[in-house]
Each structure stands twice: as C-alpha cells, then as structure tokens.
Amino acid sequence: MIRKKTGVFLLLICLLSAGVEAQRVTSMRINEVLVINEDNFVDDYGKRGSWVELYNTSAGSVDIRGCFLTNDRNNPKKYPIPKGDVLTKIRPRQHVIFWIDEQPSRGTFHVNFKFDPDRENYIALYDADGKTLVDEVTIPCANGKEVSYGRTVDGHAEWGFLEKVTPSTNNLTLDTNDKIDNFRVNDSLGVGMTLTAMAVVFCGLILLYLIFKFVGKLSVTLSIRRAQKTDGSTVGQDVASGEILAAIGTALFELDEDVHDIENTVLTIQKVKRNYSPWNSKIYGLREIPGK
C-alpha cells in the first residue's frame, strides 16, 4: 500500500516537473547575432565586437547560470555562463546580450571565443548538464556587411538578415495591438464580438447542461436499482422526491406520537399541553457540582 502511494506521489512529481520544464532554460532561444560590428552597439568598455542575443520566450523568469555557450559542435562546454551573477536571471519575454570577443575576464557576458567574419559561424546554447542542446544556429557569412542575422519575430522559427540591428530589444517592433485594431476596423458595432462570445458562452453551458442531464438520469437510475436491490421494492423517482418523503415522515411521526385527530385524510397540528418541560425545570438551570 505504501509502495503504491509512493508510486503515485512520484508520478505526480514527474508530471509536475514536466510542467515546470516549460519555464526553464529550454524556453531560451538564440534570437539575433551580429558578426561584424564596426559602427554599432558598444559594450561597457566602449568596445565594439560581435554579439549574440538570447531571448526568454516563456512567461516566467529563467536563470541561465551554469549553462554553456559554444561555437564548437565537439565542445558543448566551451563557455560556462558564470554562477553568482544576478543578471543571468532573464525576465519573461526579455533579452540578454553576450559579447563574442574572447575576453571572459571582462565579465559574465563576455565569452571565451570569437567569430570569424570571413566565413559561416556556428553558435549553440546548452543546458547546465552540457548535453541537452537548447538552441543552435549557423550564421551565414555576411560578406563584410554590418547586418544582423536573427529571427524575424522574437522566438519564432523563421530566420533571416534583419533590416535593422536591434540589440536587447524586439526584432520586430511591436507598437500596435493587432487584436484591438482588428476589432476596431472590422467590428465597430460590436455585433461580431457579441455573436461570437454569446455563442461560446451558450456552447459551454449547453455542453455542461447535456452532460449533467445525462449524469442526472444515470444517477436516478442507479439509485432506483440500488433501492430495488436492498429491499426488493420498486421505489421510483416520483416516490422518492423530497416533498413526499417529508410528508410520509410527518405522517409516521404523528402516528407514533398519537397527535393526529380523528378526522381522516386531514393533516392538522394540535397543541400538546405539558405541565413539565426540561426547559422550565430548575434542575437544568443550576450548575453542576464539579465531580470529585
């Protein structure tokens, strides 16, 4: 029994862990890379160099400490992202830049390898175990042009040379809310929204109605069968209704107590006079003497 319980518990833990995974390093993506940087973003030292931008696609913060960046397929653990830096915790849907300048002594965000501007480059992000590949990309040779290679929309699958270099910000600038604009243009009267939403509300509650109509019927059938099994009687739904049971109960009570008058088929309530009642007894009004 204990083993069974432990098994169920472990299974639950596994299922929960699978859910947690979505908020972990696997949610990180390589989002944009600039190999040739001569007139663009500068680092804290005022230097220009290649950089790679990582993006957290999830709705929760992700800490990338202990993970690895590499430009060598045979050496996944080339640059371990240092632990103990609070800045390695990336907020939801936010970006972080790593400088590919072979200057790891300059801080957490400066890696120990460089890109070669004259040929195709490769970069990958590995999980803290050094085996699980989180994301990788091969950057085509830019032929001397200062253009970044990135996902056309943050976190999406499609890659290409971007029109603008966008370090630490969205690759596609989001300055409008498409959903609202769409409603503003196509449903200015609100009729579409009303019809759609009312249809969904009705669908949900109709489904619930149908299910519970079925469940109700099943429950009534089962209770009748159970009653028949117990005493062989044929108790039906109508007979078992609350009102009838209450009436039967009242009648039996009155019969037992003999408070019904002699008129048949008429249910009356007679006042019963009693001289003594526990409520007016002095005995119950006194405190009990504590037991010895």
């Binding site: 809310n177 959903k179 609202i180 409603f183 503003r184 449903d187 200015s188 009267l189 609100g190 009729v191 929204m193 009303t194 759609t196 939403a197 009312m198 969904v200 509300v201 009705f202 669908c203 949900g204 509650l205 109709i206 489904l207 619930l208 109605y209 149908l210 299910i211 519970f212 109509k213 469940v215 109700g216 429950s219 009534v220 209770s223 739904q237 078992a240 209704s241 609350g242 009102e243």
Partner: protein, 386 residues
C-alpha cells in the same frame, strides 16, 4: 530675536497648513467623501450589501482625504505606500481568484445539477455584458475599454476587477465601484423590469421541486465544469479554476478544514482588503472624469439589459416546454451573478403574487450558472482583446 522667533513660528505654521487636508481639499474630494458617506448610509440604514458597501464606502473616505503630494508615501497611487502595497492585489488581479475560491467553497450547486436546463438562463443573461460592450463602442470607447466596461453587466465584482485590471487598468476604479454599487442596488434595479416583462399568469407558474442530488454528482460537477469550461476558454482559468477548486474542497467531504478556511477567514480577509482598496482607488483627482460618469451610466444599462435578457429568454424557452415543466420567468433576473441577491429578489417578487410559491431554490440555479457564465465571458473578452 523675539520677532524672528515669531516669524519662524508663523512660517512653520504656514508650511504646516499647506500639509493639511483642509488646504488641499477640492470640491471633487468633498463630493467623493459624500459618495462614501452615502454608501455607508445605504449599507447601515437599508442593509444593501453591507459587506461590500461598508469597506468600499470607508475606502472612498480614506482615498479622498486630500494631502499635499510631498512623497510621504501616503496615497494609494504612491509607490511603496501601505495602501499601494495592498492595492497590488487588485492591480495584479490576485484578489478576485481568491474571492472565487471562497465563493466556490460556499456555493451549493445542487439546484443547478438537479435542473441543468437552468444553466441556459445564466448564459442568456450574459447578453448584458455584450449589450453594454456594443453601446460603449458607440460612445467612443476603445474595444478593450468597452470590454472592461461591459463586464459590469456580469454583476460579478471580482470578475469585473480581474478583467478591467487586464484590459483597461486606468478605468478599473470606476468599473469596480460601479459594479459593486449596482450589485448592492439590485433590489431597486431589477423588480420594475421583472414586473414589466411578465404577465400575472407567468408570475404564478409553479416549478417542479428539485430532486435530491447525490454526493457523487456534486463531486464530479466541479471537475467536469473546470475541464469543460477551461478547455473552451483557457483565459478564464484563474477565475473558473479557483471557483471549481473551492467547490471541490466543499463537496469532496475530506477537506472540510480547507473549505471552511476558504469560505470563512480567507474570503473575509480578501473582501476587506479588496473593498477598502477599491474604495480608496477612487481618489477624486484620478476618478472624477467624464469617463467615470459614462461608465456609471453604462453599468446601470448593462444590469438592465442582463435582467431583461434573462427574463425574455425564459419566456422564449417556455414556448418549447410542456405544461408542468415550464419555468417561472421571475427567476430569469437571477441569471446575472450577484449571488444570492438576485435569487432573493426572484423569491420576494414571486411571493408578492403567490405567497406559497417559493422560487429561491429554483433561482439559485441560474444564479450560480451566471457566475460561471460571467467568468467564461470574461475569459472570452480577455482572449479576444487582451
């Protein structure tokens, strides 16, 4: 020396005067204080939703004590102030799901399970939300703002706060106060329309007594309810998830302590914090705008539309039901959530026309269906406009 001392005292007194509420008071503050006092009066004198109106009314007084904006971290809109910290539960939207947990733990869905067709009334009454949405659009509100305003018609304070905090945070104060005020005024708003839209014959329709519901049915209701509604509208998860979770705590029979905490101390605590902070968020400088007045008008309208939609739907539904299975249209008003006030109104108005016709049990069905319906509607609005 003496002269300079007195002038020093005088200057200090003058400076102090600028810090007093009297110095900073505006007609707007005084007006809002009167509104707060009116709410408290309604709650104590007429017992209109005292659990809501007392905290909100007093919150309005707290929020409208004028003060000089000198970074003293006093006001609800000053980051880091005590009131601001408490207000985070409203702005981040985590008070409403906790309230729903408590509502779930105190709601008996038996009436609904025994007569599931009453769920459809709860669906029909949600028309109040979308009717108000349509009108709000015509009045010049943006679609997201119109959605947040429309939800007032769901007659569900926590849902209104939750949705407005996501869709239109700048209108949240007005929407929350409007939703709670009209919920308190349900006994005044609904009866005239109930009488207007029903005939004498309809008002005395007797409905079949609800059957006894087994505990198994009560247990599977929150589970199926959650799976079905949230698979359909996942954005309703925070509210519906907590509502059905609370109900399972109640009905499972093995988590009595948790259910009691959820429907007792927890919901009481959150109600106090929610009421006071929503009330305090009505600071005159932020609250008294033309938009707020429009929102109040639209809120009343949405309640009326929801009430009428529920009643008319029952009348329409009755056309397809056999004699003996018909529904009394006086329970149509309870399709708006406002649990349990709108159900009580069905009972009161029903008793006026037939003193032996008790509608309360029947009205509770659409009433709790209205809670589910308004949470689903909120999820749809959030999904479309969020």
């Amino acid at each position: 020396m003496q002269e300079s001392f007195f002038s020093f005292l005088g200057e200090n007194l003058q400076t102090f005067l600028t810090y007093t509420g009297v110095y900073s008071a505006t007609p707007g503050h005084l007006f809002m204080i009167l509104v707060g006092l009116f709410f408290i009066f309604l709650a104590i004198r007429f017992e209109f939703e005292p659990m809501l109106l007392i905290p909100i009314g007093f919150g309005i007084l707290i929020g409208n004590i004028p003060f000089k904006d000198a970074g003293l971290q006093v006001g609800i809109y000053e980051e880091g102030s005590v009131l601001n910290i408490l207000y985070q539960g409203v702005t981040s939207g985590w008070y409403p799901p906790l309230i729903f947990l408590g509502i779930g733990a105190m709601t008996d869905f038996s009436a609904l399970i025994s007569n599931p067709k009453l769920m459809l009334i709860g669906a029909a009454a949600q028309f109040g939300i979308f009717g108000a949405y349509t009108i709000a659009l015509q009045m010049g509100f943006e679609p997201n703002q119109a959605g947040a305003i429309g939800i007032i018609g769901g007659a569900d304070g926590p849902t209104a706060i939750f949705l407005s905090s996501k869709l239109a945070p700048n209108l949240m104060g007005a929407i929350a106060v409007s939703a709670y005020s009209y919920m308190a005024l349900v006994p005044i708003i609904q009866p005239p329309f109930m009488r207007l839209l029903t005939t004498k014959k309809e008002r005395v329709i007797r409905m079949k007594p609800p059957r006894v519901v087994s505990s198994t049915e009560k247990i599977i209701f929150p589970i199926i309810g959650l799976l079905l509604t949230c698979f359909l509208v996942p954005s309703g998860l925070p509210l519906l998830g907590m509502l059905f979770f609370g109900n399972l705590l109640k009905e499972s029979g093995v988590t009595r302590r948790l259910a009691e905490t959820a429907r007792g101390p927890l919901i009481d605590t959150i109600t106090i914090l929610l009421g006071v902070t929503v009330g305090a968020s009505t600071q005159a400088t932020q609250f008294l705008t033309l938009s707020s007045i429009k929102i109040f008008g639209l809120g009343a309208l949405s309640f009326v539309i929801a009430t009428c939609a529920g009643i008319l739907f029952v009348k329409f539904f009755n056309l397809f039901l056999r004699e003996g299975n018909k529904i009394n249209p006086l329970i149509g008003n309870s399709g708006v959530s406002a649990v349990p006030d709108s159900a009580r109104i069905s009972q009161t108005v029903g008793l006026e026309y037939d003193p032996t016709n008790y509608l309360l049990m029947h009205a509770m069905g659409p009433n709790v269906a209205g809670v589910i319906g308004s949470a689903v509607a909120a999820g749809i609005l959030l999904g479309f406009l969020g």
